[in-house]
Symmetry: C2
Subunit: 351 residues, 2 copies
C-alpha cells in the first residue's frame, strides 16, 4: 500500500491537524471548516453552529434579529470596483441579508498600521459612508487600534452587523428540501479576478471590476413577492463550489448543478484560464444562491431579473435526496463529477 501521507496529489496542503496556522485555514474551504469544527465549535458550543450559516438569529421577546461579523484583510486596499471599506460594509450587510434580515446597524473596528497615509484612510472611510448609505445601514459604534509598523498590513477592518428579521420564514441550510431549485443571482468570479489581476499586475483587454454590492434589495424583493425562500448563501471565499458543498453537507441532501447554466463573463473566464483557476472556486462579493421550491422558480427568477443586480439571475441546478451531502456538477462536456470545497487557499486575502 503506497504511503499517501508523503505524496498525496489530492491534498498537497498541511494536514488538518497542522501544528501551525496556514493561509489555507482562512481560505473559506475545507481547511477553514476543519479549524472551525475542531477548534471553535467545541469551545463555544452549539450556538456558534451559526457559523455554518452567515449569522446568528437572536430573539428578544417579539423582536427577531440577525447578528454577524466579518474581518476584512484584503490586499491591495484599493482595487477595481471598490476598496477594503466598501467590502467591509457590503460583506457584512450581505451576511445579514443571507439570514433574510434587513441590515440596520453596523459596528466598525479599525486596526491601523503605524505609517498608513491619512489620505488613504480618509478615502476608505468616505467609501464606507457611501456604502453604508447605499445599503441603508448606520454605523453606530466603533473602535480604533494602531499597531507598530511591520505588525500589520496597512489596515484591517472588522464590521459586525445587526439586522431585523421581519417575516416568519426560517432561512437556513436546514430549510433546503428535495426538489428545490438552485438559483444564482448573477455571473461569478469577478471579485476574485479583479483582486488577482491588480495584485499580479496583470492587464487584460478589459478591466475586471469587483462585483462588490449590497444584495439585500434582491432578497427584500423576493420576500415582498411572497416567495418561500428556503436558504440563501453569498458566494465569498471559496466561491460557488464551497458554498453549495457546505449547504449540501449541512442539509444532508444532494445538490446537482449544471456548469453550462452558470454564467461567467468572457474576460473572467479568460483570466481564470490564464491563471489556471476554476471560476467555481473564485470569490464573489455581490452574488448569492437562493434555494426555493421548484414551483416558485420562475416567479423568483422574474423578481430577481426585475432588478439591475439580478438581471442575469438563473437556475443552475436542483436538490434531491441522494447521494446525501454530495454536490455533483454536469460539466461543459456533459460529464458529471463530484464537486468538493476548495481544499486550500486559491487566492489568499481576497476579502
Amino acid at each position: 500500500m503506497p504511503d499517501t501521507t508523503t505524496f498525496d496529489m489530492t491534498c498537497p496542503l498541511p494536514s488538518a491537524d497542522a501544528t501551525h496556522v496556514t493561509l489555507a485555514h482562512g481560505g473559506g474551504g475545507r481547511r477553514m471548516q476543519q479549524l472551525i469544527e475542531t477548534m471553535f465549535l467545541p469551545a463555544f458550543g452549539n450556538p456558534l453552529n451559526a457559523a455554518r450559516h452567515d449569522g446568528a438569529v437572536l430573539t428578544f421577546g417579539d423582536v427577531k434579529l440577525a447578528f454577524t461579523t466579518d474581518s476584512y484583510v484584503v490586499q491591495p486596499l484599493f482595487f477595481p470596483g471598490g476598496n477594503i471599506g466598501t467590502l467591509a460594509i457590503h460583506g457584512t450587510v450581505n451576511d445579514l441579508a443571507m439570514c433574510g434580515a434587513r441590515p440596520v446597524y453596523l459596528s466598525a473596528g479599525f486596526i491601523l498600521e503605524e505609517g498608513l497615509p491619512m489620505k488613504a484612510l480618509e478615502r476608505i472611510v468616505q467609501s464606507m459612508q457611501h456604502a453604508a448609505a447605499d445599503s441603508g445601514v448606520q454605523l453606530v459604534t466603533g473602535d480604533t487600534k494602531v499597531v507598530d509598523k511591520g505588525s500589520g498590513d496597512g489596515l484591517f477592518i472588522n464590521t459586525a452587523g445587526i439586522g431585523m428579521i421581519e417575516h416568519d420564514l426560517s432561512i437556513a441550510p436546514a430549510g433546503v428540501q428535495p426538489g428545490d431549485a438552485v438559483l444564482l443571482s448573477g455571473d461569478i468570479g469577478r471579485h476574485g479576478m479583479a483582486i488577482m489581476a491588480v495584485r499580479a499586475g496583470l492587464e487584460f483587454e478589459s478591466m475586471i471590476e469587483s462585483d462588490c454590492a449590497p444584495v439585500y434589495p434582491l432578497v427584500q424583493a423576493l420576500l415582498d413577492a411572497g416567495i418561500t425562500i428556503h436558504c440563501l448563501r453569498d458566494l465569498t471565499r471559496g466561491g460557488l463550489a464551497s458554498a453549495v458543498v457546505e449547504i449540501a453537507e449541512s442539509a444532508h441532501l444532494h445538490i446537482h448543478l449544471d456548469e453550462r447554466l452558470i454564467p461567467v463573463r468572457e474576460d473572467v473566464r479568460g483570466a481564470c484560464e490564464l491563471l489556471g483557476l476554476d471560476p467555481m472556486y473564485v470569490a464573489n462579493e455581490g452574488r448569492f444562491v437562493c434555494f426555493v421550491p421548484a414551483a416558485a422558480r420562475e416567479d423568483a427568477l422574474a423578481v430577481m431579473r426585475s432588478q439591475a443586480l439580478g438581471e442575469a439571475a438563473c437556475c443552475i441546478g436542483e436538490v434531491s435526496a441522494d447521494p446525501a451531502g454530495l454536490v455533483t456538477l454536469r460539466s461543459h462536456i456533459g460529464v458529471s463529477r463530484i464537486v468538493d470545497m476548495l481544499s486550500g487557499e486559491q487566492l489568499p486575502r481576497i476579502c
Copy 2:
C-alpha cells in the same frame, strides 16, 4: 515669540493633522480623540457619537439594546492574569456594562497570522470560553481570516457585543450633574503595568497581574439596589485621567479629583516610578468610574464593597459646574493642577 513648533515640550508628538497614522492615534488619549472627531464622526454622522460613550443604545419596539465593538491587538498574547482572549471577552462585556446593559451575546472575529502555533490558539480559545461563561455571555457568530507571515502579529481578535438594557436610567456622560460623586471601583494601573513588566522583561518583587475581569456584576448590584447611576466608564487605554477628562468635556462640567483618595498598589506605584509613568494614565481592564448623586454615595459604595471585585471601591472626587470641561486634581502634596488626557501613547498595544 519663541517657535513652539520646533521645540514643544508639552506635545512632543506628531501634530493632529499628521499625514500618517502614528501609534498615538490608538492610545486612547487626545490624538485618538482627534482622529475620531476629524475622520470618523464627520463621515459616519451623529449616531457614531456613541463613540464618546462605550457603545450605542438601540431601540427595537420595547426592546432596548446596547451594541459595542473592540479589536484587541495586545502584545504579548499571554501576560500575567490573562491573555488576548480573556481581554477580548472582558473588554467588550465591560463596554456593554458601562452602557448599563446586561451582556448577552458576542461575536468573535479572528485575524490569524500564518505560522501561529495551533497550541497557542487553542489556549486562547479555551480562555475565551471560560471568560464568556464567567461573564454570562454566549459567543454566537464568528469569522476567521489568515494573513501571510509578516503581515500580522500572531493574532488580533475583534469582539462585538449585544447587551440588554432592563431599566429606565439614561447612563451616559450627558447624565452627569453638578454635585455628583465620582466613585472608583478599585485600585488602578495593574493591567498596564502587568503588560509593561512582561514586555520589558522586568521582574519586580511581586508579580503584577492584570486586573482583567468582567465588571457587570457590580453594575447589576448597583442597579438592583436602586442606585441612580448617572454615568459609567471603564478605565482602559489612557487610564483614569483620559476617561474622566472625556466625561468632563462631554458633560461640560468640572470634575475635581483628589489623588490621595485614588488607590494604587505599592508594587504598581513602584513599577510606575521606575519607568517614569503616571498611574493616572495607565490602562486597566477591570476598573470603572461611576457617577452618582452625592446623596447616593455611601449606599453605592456599600453595594460595591459587598462584592470582591469592588471591595476597594472609594469616592475619589466630585462634580461641579465650573470651570466647565476641566478636570482638576489635588495632588499628594496638596497642590491642585489641571489634568489632561493622555496626549500620546504611553504603552502601545496594551489591549
